[in-house]
Amino acid sequence: MSILINKNTRLLVQGITGNEGLFHTTQMKAYGTNVVAGVTPGKGGEWVLEGKVPVFDSVKFAVEATGANTSIIFVPARFASDAIFEAADAGLELIVCITEGIPVQDMMRVRNYLDQKNVRLVGPNCPGLLTPGESKVGIIPGDIAIPGNVGVVSRSGTLTYGVLYALKLVGMGVSTCVGIGGDPINGTNFIDVLGMFEEDPQTEMVVLIGEIGGSDEERAAEFIADHLTKPVAAFIAGQTAPPGKRMGHAGAIVEGGSGLAADKIRALEAVAVHVAQHPEQIPELLMKRV
């Protein structure tokens, strides 16, 4: 078992003929993900990946033709919210949006709309999902994680890779890794994923990687206290970030005293989560807990 993606995932790639789309589609396919279709308006009828994946002009037509149930979005930021609406309206169950830099008001409209539909969005501005050995829907390098019993959820991208790699180096495997993205408004938050890990029999312990800004980690701490029976280790990035400075992620703005790393660490430690001083300590913290 795993969460969100597995062998039954039939993946559609929006923006498949762009540089990034094509590169990562190749990687996903090589990893074993069942990539059934791509969409690039104006390129319908072409084929990519040596004639293995058909390209459609629209998500609706691609879904009708291939039975795709999951979409990953690589389209540029200014078109990305439309791509999410298109995927949602075409009836996909899971949408993973890699694109970074989507205007925040676009995302508020998207999220408000999706909340009335039976669809899950992961991201945007996220590295996507990896269920080692089964399926990869995103840009997480496939060779840095092995199958196992650790569920990983993170707001960060490359920082997550470091944690996965550190786990692999000590022989610890991962059930599913979910990058939820660092934007202030996104589709899936810590609580959503923690609940799924709690339900997933394969997952026996959980790693949570947060960062400064917002209060998702604090709410995750409450959720862990009330609902999680599995041990959790965490790391919070930005402990030394100067207050008020914008840190690349729109989400990483420390606003008026809230969102500080110290507060998040305190909240997590208060509910018996071990918080690492630096991310490479995570494996030993997990081993202590089990």
Binding site: G101, S156, G238, A241, A250
Partner: protein
């Protein structure tokens, strides 16, 4: 992107919000002339993108054109919190009977914009929010429906605004929302919104912050950016799509990803060093971008060591490596460099850099420890 007070108020005015008569001046002479045109008492207001201008002496009342000139001269020579004053706004002085706060920002916890108001407006509004949060009225705004008229009315009631002002207050709230939405703002604020001696409402001060990610659809707003107030290195960084913030330490950092960049800073401190900057080269960084990033880091004379921490995903190790090589051909430097390169195409990247005389590291901890050591001259 922050707008100056005068720019924010011009936008407000476009959406029907009453603002004082006034204009911006770059010289004391211009300030005097504007004061003459306004024919009476004026306020000279420094235009710098930082709070606390008033307490720093950057906002002064002039009772005559001559006084306006002399105060403008003083203010135009000031530095406020490190920022030089290059422009002043000369506004007709208002008679202030009462100060109200009215602002809109995004509330990420409810995923909606929120409009906030208080009868205790003015410079101490943050203190009010801290000490007496019940004095701040909050109304979430539906992202698809926008601010409803009844909400503006409910706010007027809740802040005890006299009835005769409800109608204009409603127009101002609607105008503020329209300005916020139409400009893709993340903050739009009137503080204070005053009731004048003539019993009218007037937006005496205004502030807007725009969403950088949405500027592509607002070319006319992008042009308002004030390059004067940014460090050259930050302007250069934005040109190449890099996220860069200058800090006070001596270990330059070049990292892909904001979370990993913050973590690199955290871990440098953990091992006793001080980062010279935050620098996120972003996803899919090209050689050109990496090269620019390196030049920017090396332009800081404090830098004693550089830590490269790249974990390939969208960003490919080989491209990063080529960028470093290209930059090192342009810029001769003796600054020691520690590199950690993992993930997509990392192996090829390491091969490219084999001859570049860099210190390599496997883990982040190792990389940080090595960087701290070489920065201390070890």
């Amino acid at each position: 992107m922050k707008l100056h007070e005068y720019q924010s108020k011009q936008l407000f005015s476009k959406y029907g919000i009453p603002i004082p008569r006034g204009r911006v001046a770059a010289t004391a002479q211009e300030a005097k002339q504007i004061a003459e045109e306004l024919g009476g008492r004026v306020v000279i207001k420094s235009q710098v993108l930082v709070g606390g201008r008033g307490k720093a002496g950057g906002i002064r009342l002039a009772k005559s054109p001559a006084e306006a000139e002399s105060l403008a001269t003083q203010i135009l020579r000031m530095d406020i919190k490190g920022l030089p004053v290059r422009k002043v706004l000369v506004d007709e002085a208002a008679n202030i009977n009462k100060e109200i706060y009215l602002g809109i920002t995004n509330d990420r916890s409810i995923r909606r914009p929120i409009i906030m108001a208080s009868s205790a407006g003015g410079v101490d509004i943050e203190e009010v929010a801290r000490v007496s949060p019940e004095k701040i009225i909050r109304e979430p705004i539906h992202p698809l429906l926008g601010l409803r008229d009844y909400q503006a009315r409910d706010i007027a009631v809740a802040i005890d605004l006299p009835r005769e002002h409800w109608k204009v207050f409603g127009q101002i709230a609607r105008g503020l929302w329209q300005a916020y939405q139409a400009s893709d703002a993340t903050l739009a604020e009137i503080n204070p919104l005053v009731i004048t001696g003539e019993n009218t409402l007037l937006a005496v001060d205004g502030k807007m912050v725009l969403d950088d990610n949405a500027l592509f659809r607002h070319p006319e707003l992008s042009e308002m950016r004030d390059l004067d107030v940014e460090a050259d290195s930050e302007i250069e960084a934005r040109k190449y799509g890099l996220s860069f913030i200058k800090l006070d330490g001596n270990i330059g950092c070049m990292v892909n990803g904001a979370g990993l960049a913050m973590t690199s800073m955290d871990i440098i401190k953990l091992f006793g060093g001080e980062p010279a900057n935050f620098l996120d080269i972003g996803g899919g960084a090209s050689a050109e971008k990496v090269s620019a990033a390196l030049r920017i880091i090396l332009s800081d004379p404090n830098v004693r060591a550089i830590l490269f921490n790249v974990f390939g995903g969208i960003t490919r190790g080989d491209e990063v490596a080529r960028g470093i090589l290209a930059a090192l051909q342009d810029i001769r430097t003796d600054v020691p460099m520690v590199i950690r390169l993992v993930g997509t195409n990392a192996e090829e990247g390491r091969r490219i850099l084999a001859d570049a005389n860099m210190i390599t590291a496997e883990t982040l901890a190792e990389a940080a420890q090595k960087a701290v050591a070489v920065a201390k001259g070890a």
